[in-house]
Amino acid sequence: MTLKKTAAYGLPLVVLFVLALVFPYLVDPYTIHVSNVAVVFGLLAIGLFLSMGIAGQFDLAQVAFLGVGAYTAAILTLHAGWDFWPAALAGVVISIIVSLLVGIPALRVQSHYLAIVTLGLSLAFISLVINLPITGQAEGLSGIPAPVFFGIDLGDDYLFYYFGLALLIVGIAFAAFVVHTRLGRRMRAMRDDDLAAAAMGTRVPVLRMIAFAFGGLYGGVAGALYAGLIRFVAPESFSLANMFLLLAMVIIGGRHSLPGVVIGAVGLIFVRSWLADFSIYAQLGYGALVVIFVVFLPTGIAGIPARLIELWKRRGTKGAGGIGVAPYVPYAVEAPDAAGSPDADAPVVLQATDVVKSFKGLKALAGVSLTVRQGEIRGLVGPNGSGKTTLFNVLSGIHPPTTGSVEVFGERSTTTPSYRLSLRGVARTFQNLRLFPLMSVRENVMMGIDRTPSRWSWRYIIRPLSVLRADARMRGEADEILDRYGLLGLAEAKPSELSYGAQRRVEIARAMATRPRLLLLDEPAAGLNGDEVNQLKAIVNDIRATGVTVIIIEHNMGLVMSMCDRVTVLSTGKVIADGLPEEVGRSPEVIEAYLGDDAKLEKEMLDATSGPAEGTVQ
């Protein structure tokens, strides 16, 4: 970060911090109490921001986590006679455990289903505390002792304010740390496209649970704080109305922005307290605001500056082309033929045997066998619907085959999930471009560079500095790759701002960032112009020259014939030809599959009637 940039971010933050410090000297006790409530909701909202805004998990039980934290602290201090701090810690731990349980359905369902299941579970929580004698039933629990922090009595709202403020700052800092390093990047990738994230080595189920645990962590901390602040817990504080209020905070503030959600939470708590005498109108108001923001400003208050800048730019320079793609820098400096076709006895990289894949009666693959040797460029062609992409999905671990077996690098991988195959060295691109739309080009490539397993996440707690160092290193590696692929000038751009050809190149760069030994390219030339196709050819040849085996699905026959060492032809889920490009091109079955019976007939007739036919099928 440059000095100027640091000043641009740092100065307002310092001013804000000083203002927050002198704030209690300027206001009355009631406002301080409201500020303390705002701190609690700020922490709670950060939890929802991490689980929903960053990880895309539609978690509507966040207020229940607040309740679990608060009730645990209350019960342990009142019934078990614990001190406040151990009780608060227990509240956080139990809240995390509950959040993991609530998150289990997320392993099976997402989006709308998950929203309603978690909402149902938060109703179950309310039903539980209303009925259990230990939670004080409908009356709740009162008389929680005021926490004392190293001799400071936090029963005083003014002193509590400083404690809460410190906790909020720590909470914001930790959330920012998570969001901008590898765990947060993987969560954002999973939110944008879980399939592509898995293909980049992300263990999606574990990450979903981690997302819920973050919700539980922040919910639990906010809950314990709530118990210490209000010193009274009752079921209605954790009702659906408050869950929706929390959701409104996150949506109005901006669900993808950390400052946004904090502003949303603090702002809405203050507005609610000012409108305390008109609470119904306040409810109508924030309901309407949620609708308005969702339709007109889905990025919330935090998205307003970006919107304004965009409008300003559009007004100024009309249709500025921006920076284009620079030429690719090959690894192999020698002539492109330096590393040609592999020997016939090169080691087998991929072995698929009798792979069958059925979708509800439809047999997409009906017994496909395939052997690919190291260093080969294998073409995979066939008419639409012949099962090429399905075969890629089976090979890359997205769908397990119905029967048959797959071996990659000599290891059985029939049912190996895609994240594990990615870590073993299988990379792929997608037919319909699956870049992470809300992440920059650099972050997309960093997703490929990040090869760490999920258990690495413990470092966030025990060795946070090593996380920062590893991230700086990954950033450097990403820039090297971007430079090689001529994309460094576009590193900060979002994929949607790039031309189609540039987006295709980012996908290849992202796949190559995983340092694969086997690369699967799904129609990489689709939508490219002639020049871009030639560049693609050079890139693929160079990738092979570095020892990577490439399998390529492509409809551009000229490209396939000139580039591939061997070509496999699929038709209606079966291999109908396999061999050198020129052999395959002459095979009658292939011509028939591609052009239909009529073409074959026509060709036969032409062959029979006239000798040298011009302009016929080649």
């Binding site: 359905p105 392993l107 369902v109 149902g120 109305a241 929706f244 309901g287 969702v294 992409t389």
Partner: protein, 289 residues
């Protein structure tokens, strides 16, 4: 045995209402791919409207129901129209938008009818039928019949009319439906209006059985949704089976322990989602790479 059968009968009466809620959810989900979170609140507004016209205006119950159904159908149309820019773009945002409408509807209900709630007298008086010692309330019998008729009419509409078939086409592939000249916006609007009308029907019928309050829609809405998932989301058969099954489950849970019935219902629901997310009649979909 007596207890089991009596609870079963009560469960079917309650289940018939869940069926109606589930049908409304399913219809909107099936055509638009959207879970309408305002459904429970629309139901609550419908229940209040029916109760108000029945009690205060002293008009017959069936007429009050029709007014409530028409009024909520209009509310549904308004919601659909405002959220239309998000259709087929961002369903998560659209869902949050329906939550926003739910918050507003609850606020309006509190403004108009207050927070205390209302007990609706049963419109059909007379002693319950006694079948071998099991009591069947006349009103609950009517509810079951109305729910059966509504399911039948909905099925006929979706499978036998041109508009209904067009709506199913939209559900399967909205882009191809557009290419075939089907007005997707209108199709979605009709789905939303019918869905909201069904919510009012469910709410109005539930009024005399349960206690109408500004928050009773949330519970009933989630129960209906759970029922829809249990049966397999997005099909009529699933809504009927799921609704009845959930009604019986809830009835037994509250028969055994009144307070914990909600807890049991929601935990069972979560378990169902974990074990069989596509429900009894649901179809799994394949994510295309």
């Amino acid at each position: 045995m007596q207890f089991v059968l009596q609870t079963l009968v009560g469960g079917i009466g309650l289940g018939a209402i869940y069926v109606l809620v589930a049908l409304g959810f399913s219809l909107v989900y099936r055509t638009m791919g959207l879970v309408n979170f305002a459904h429970g609140d629309i139901l609550m507004v419908g229940a209040y409207l029916a109760a108000t016209f029945f009690i205060s205006a002293k008009i017959p119950f069936w007429a009050a129901m029709i007014i409530a159904i028409v009024a909520t159908a209009v509310i549904g149309l308004v919601i659909e129209r405002i959220l239309r820019p998000l259709e087929n773009k961002d369903f998560d945002l659209m869902l949050i938008g329906t939550i926003g409408f739910g918050i507003m509807l609850e606020g309006i209900a509190i403004l108009v009818w207050g927070t205390t709630g209302e007990a609706v007298p049963t419109p059909i008086t007379g002693d319950p039928f006694n079948v071998f010692g099991i009591y069947i309330k006349r009103y609950e019998l009517v509810v079951v019949i109305v729910a059966a008729l509504a399911s039948l009419v909905l099925w006929l509409f979706l499978d036998r009319t041109k508009q209904g078939i067009a709506m199913q086409a939209v559900a399967i592939n909205h882009e191809e439906a557009t290419a075939l000249g089907i007005n997707v916006g209108r199709s979605n609007a009709i789905a939303f209006a019918i869905g909201s009308g069904l919510a009012a029907l469910a709410g109005g019928l539930a009024g005399p059985i349960l206690y109408v309050s500004p928050t009773f829609g949330a519970n009933l809405g989630i129960m209906g949704f759970s029922a829809a998932i249990l049966g397999g989301f997005g099909n009529i058969k699933g809504a009927i089976v799921g609704g009845l099954a959930f009604g019986i489950l809830y009835s037994f849970a509250s028969g055994l322990s009144q307070g914990y019935a909600d807890l049991v219902a929601f935990i069972v629901f979560a378990l169902i989602v974990i074990i069989r997310p596509n429900g009894i009649f649901g179809e799994s979909t394949v994510n295309r790479a």
